[in-house]
Amino acid sequence: MALPLSYNIRNVRVRWQVTLLAISGIALVVAVFSILLSMSAGFQTALRATGRPDNALIVQRGSASELTSGIRIDDRNTILADDRIARRPDGSPMASWEWVVVMSLPKVDNGGPTNVTLRAVTPQAFEVRGGIDVVEGKKFQPGLDEVIVGRKIMGRIEGLQIGKQVKYMDKRFTVVGVFESQGGAFESEIWGDYDVMGAMFQRGAGSNSVVVRMKDASQIPALDKWIRAQPQMQLQAVAEPKYYSDQAGPLAAILKGLAAFVAFVMGVGAVFGAMNTMYAIVASRTREIGTLRALGFSRFSILSSFVMESVVLATLAGAIGLLLAMPMNGFSTGTAQTQSFSEVAFSFRLTPQILITGMVFAAAMGLLGGLLPALRAARMPITRALRDA
């Protein structure tokens, strides 16, 4: 029979200071680790939630974002004549052509400037893009100097409340509404009228991008192939959700890498810290271990008793760490999206997967931290352990 559990519990209680030290170290590591992971998960969600799968986004080949893309009106008209694009009862294609620019606006927290995407759209955009809901105020009216702002950006940028005015190129636009897009990246944008802004940008009748609704989502690759075959165009068609999640790619990857790196550095530190604590605990119990073995307890039962003690402690610490990270769940923040250099707001998301990862990480730290010193103690000759002061 193994050593009784009460033996571990009493030991933990008697050595509560060192135990507390080890627990808080591991809890802290797990908290930071899971917060970083939840940041990366939230960022990916923000961009993945953008767009409908049966929409194709047409942009210039080789342009990393809509900002640097350009589509001439002739090319647009050629494409919109394609049979794979959905039509309204009156025969007009379901398509939205949009201008995209970046404007610099002051942040709420420190007044510093940040880039915000300004999108000029026709009334069709609401129909084609889909999922855009004006939740406060009203839509901008075509022909007027009005804009609506995304729900997420509204709280992060100064002066975006309904009734306030934003300035772009010496022109003032009145905020008339707030919209949501089911958590997608549009909620970090400001939208205005295509004709009003197109005139202001002096870019003529083209657009940065064109979104088309497909009759059949599976036809997007075929449309893309056909567009690429047109030598005068230099364009491509990408499924809308894929386009926006690809935009997230580099930053989400960087955040993930950062999470892994920080977790590794802190994890190594914490493992050494936990190991040090366990070493100290085990070292102070060397004679006790010698006595237990002299009484007939096997190496294995002593080893498992110590390892179990540290794994249980570490798992507890992991749970505490996750509780510490919990308040961050749903917390919204923003960051510059790497491709368009404009602010994308997103929420931290503590997914079940992250919670499991955090617990496994904590248990592994406990296993390593407990196993090595316990092995040392269990392998020592009994006679030497007994002579230990």
Binding site: M1, L3, S6, A294, L295, G296, R299, P381, L386
Partner: protein, 225 residues
Amino acid sequence: MSTMVSVQEVTKVYKRGSEELKVLDSLSLDVPEGEFVALMGPSGSGKTTLLNLIAGIDQPTSGAVVVGGRNIAVLSEGELAKWRSHSVGFIFQFYNLIPVLSAVENVELPLLLTKLSKKERRERALTALKVVGLADRSSHYPRQLSGGQEQRVAIARAIVTDPQVLVADEPTGDLDAKSAEEILKLMETLNQEFKKTIVMVTHDPRAADRAHVQRHLEKGVLQLR
């Protein structure tokens, strides 16, 4: 009377780096059943080493150690641990009680390695405490006991599995005269009433006088007297 402990031509060599230290040199010793032997000798002569070999917590470099008819020098690590748990009781100079466990829990510890039920274990531990006269201290922790009381708890732990052999390494070495006297009296009782075979290492001539036989060790060799 049969032989309980038979140490035969035992040599123990400790290696420290390239240096070899011969602590026991082809030593032989027979202890008949029911005997109370005192092992004496100068510091470093190998008394503890010999005792550890008899108790099966160390193994000889060569030779045989036969206890209760079994040569324990050839047992594996695991077999030896199992053998220790029911065949021998060890009494240490510094008691070696587990500080976080109460007196009765300390005494119960060796019984965790048996198939006894929880209730039986507790009963036996209390009986052992009664034998050493500490029934009223069963829930005390080691730090709440005097040195003499701690050693008596340790003796209760040594006898709780009812082993035939008890080994004691300077059991009175850390005690005042009065407590030492009580411990020695207790060991005499265990020898006479409970028929335990006892091998005791001691520096104290008065302690040695309690034993039936005194053997002297010098530089790893038993002296003829």
